[in-house]
Symmetry: C2
Subunit: 345 residues, 2 copies
């Protein structure tokens, strides 16, 4: 299995996840509903941390649940964990191996809090430390850059949101995600042409907001892991508070801008970057207007509701980064300096 195989496999791996995990996820949602929980205390690293960003917006907006991203070093290095009263502790990790993530979960258990792991390794130390486990069932992920495990984590988060709100319509929408992803995979040839233009790109910024703040982070992380270019993710708001100073004529900007609640705000920033700074703009969007503004566009299916766009939008981005890596002469299956499991304390 190569990285490209795993990208292309996502419609199938997500279908399997939705089919096999919906029932256990509903049971977990019922169990959580019986607990006194005011806040989700979430811990993750790398790509899984980006999945956590999606949970923060989705559960905040659709389930009224504030999500706090944990500082693992408070548990593993400072050894002065905060009091976790009325939280549920959630760990997200593909491999379930990283000691710092496991230490947060163990502290949650010690304080008697409900604990949940979302992982691709249901017999890992993380899963063993947790009371409940959602197995993303992605199958072995061999490529060092995570792809199918990321969309699996997002899908598990979306299913848990639908289960917590006990909303069959939302579940039915999640079931359509594999088909929407299959549609974006047909963009591959076009993407292969588009990446040529970025052959000598050294740095970039990625703009997303709301649910797709996660997509901006994951896009930037994939660029760093595979193409070795410095790429920084921003919400449109944070970008205006200082970092906008870095852009200049021709600076490459990637925008995640599907239709939805934050569309107008992100578009206003992108329009200003295009008109006032003459940046080079590539967007992922299902809006004609965004496509017309940009130099290049990756088209998303029209029907995807905003809250599910992060699961779909990242897939053409994965293909973009994969082909850019090849265009730059690097090996996407052997990124330098990385290994599949990173053990951090």
């Amino acid at each position: 299995m190569t990285l490209r195989d795993e990208i292309l496999e996502q419609p199938r791996s997500l279908e399997r996840l939705i089919e096999t995990q919906w029932r256990p996820i509903r049971d977990i949602a019922s169990a959580l509903g019986r607990e006194e929980i005011d806040t989700i205390f979430l811990t993750a690293r790398g790509t899984s941390d980006n999945a956590g960003r999606y949970a923060k917006y989705l559960w905040g907006a659709c389930n009224g649940l504030p999500v706090a991203l944990a500082a693992p070093s408070l548990f593993s290095v400072y050894e002065t964990p905060p009091r976790l009263n009325r939280t549920a502790v959630l760990g997200i990790s593909q491999s379930g191996q990283s000691p710092d993530i496991v230490s947060v979960m163990r502290e949650g258990r010690r304080q008697g809090r409900p604990t949940l792991a979302i992982t691709n390794a249901p017999d890992s130390p993380l899963a063993e430390a947790a009371e409940w486990v959602i197995d993303i069932a992605a199958g072995p992920e061999k490529a060092i850059a995570a792809t199918k495990s990321y969309t699996g984590q997002l899908t598990a988060i979306a299913l848990l949101s639908a289960a917590l709100s006990d909303d069959g319509e939302r579940y039915d929408l999640v079931r359509r995600v594999p088909q929407w992803i299959a549609e974006t995979l047909t963009l591959e040839q076009e993407i292969e042409r588009i990446v040529q233009r970025y052959r000598y790109m050294r740095e970039s910024v990625v703009i997303g907001r709301g649910y797709n703040y996660a997509t901006a982070f994951e896009w930037a992380l994939k660029l760093k892991e595979l193409t070795y270019t410095v790429s920084e993710p921003y919400s449109s708001s944070d970008f205006r508070h200082g970092p906008i100073a870095v852009v200049d004529r021709g600076f490459p900007v990637f925008g995640v801008v599907p239709k939805g609640a934050v569309y107008a705000d992100v578009m206003a920033l992108l329009r200003s970057l295009k008109e006032d700074y003459a940046v080079e703009l590539l967007v992922v969007s299902n809006a004609d207007e965004a496509g017309a503004l940009a130099d290049r566009a990756l088209r998303l299916p029209d029907a995807v509701p905003e809250w599910l766009t992060p699961i779909v939008a990242i897939v053409p981005v994965q293909l973009f980064v994969y082909h850019l890596t090849l265009a730059k002469g690097f090996d996407p299956d052997q990124p330098r300096g990385l290994s599949k499991v990173t053990r951090t304390e």
Copy 2:
């Protein structure tokens, strides 16, 4: 007042803050102590968000209080704010003007939660929306790049931590911060020489962890705002989970590595970056070993306890970025594309 004036003014502005605000901060700590608070729900943008990162680690480690960084768009754009049960809502903003930050504070009031603003503008919309206000009393900050308001926010956060733990010894240590900062200001001539080496730097990463995760973010933000170079902040742990792929021979790495609990972990990463990747390393540290490993070092006073190092360490960094901006031929008092007050929804 120029940016340099405001950097040099920090020992005085912080002395004034400590003198005038300790009493009201103790009153606020007492009032908070009478409320049922499990989590601090914190909202901020830009430099103030970096101050929030310090609060997350300091209050987590020293006061057992988990801090959740809010997603303002849930309040201002999605209009589906999470339930803020048993939280205290904190807004940090120099100007107190940004509508999205104010909207979080107003929602906290609406839900009947305790609300606190840390601001340099005690008659701003943010301060008016909050039940309690800590005035950082920095005096007018004219430069677009925030410096004295940042160290003021950190100092207010440190004082509130000392007040919450009712610890006179910790208060006495905060009172020594202005003198420690005055010592770092004597590095200016040396810094002016060091920056020459970075005249053509285009991109960089900054590594910090724990309390100084905030310093890494603020360093990177200042570089973007003033020198227009892309700079990304990381904890040593997160950096190993993917982004480490970007570094190569001669890649500029800035390390914030004072003595303390996370010192060994950050040093292990920096040593590997130096020995395995031959990066160019500049550190801010009070440890001889870190200075010996690095190509260049900015020396911190020995006596600063780890939890106060972020307030002191950022000052030579401000001077570094200021002089690098001059060396690159830009005007540090007129950064392109930025204005002092950024109004984001």
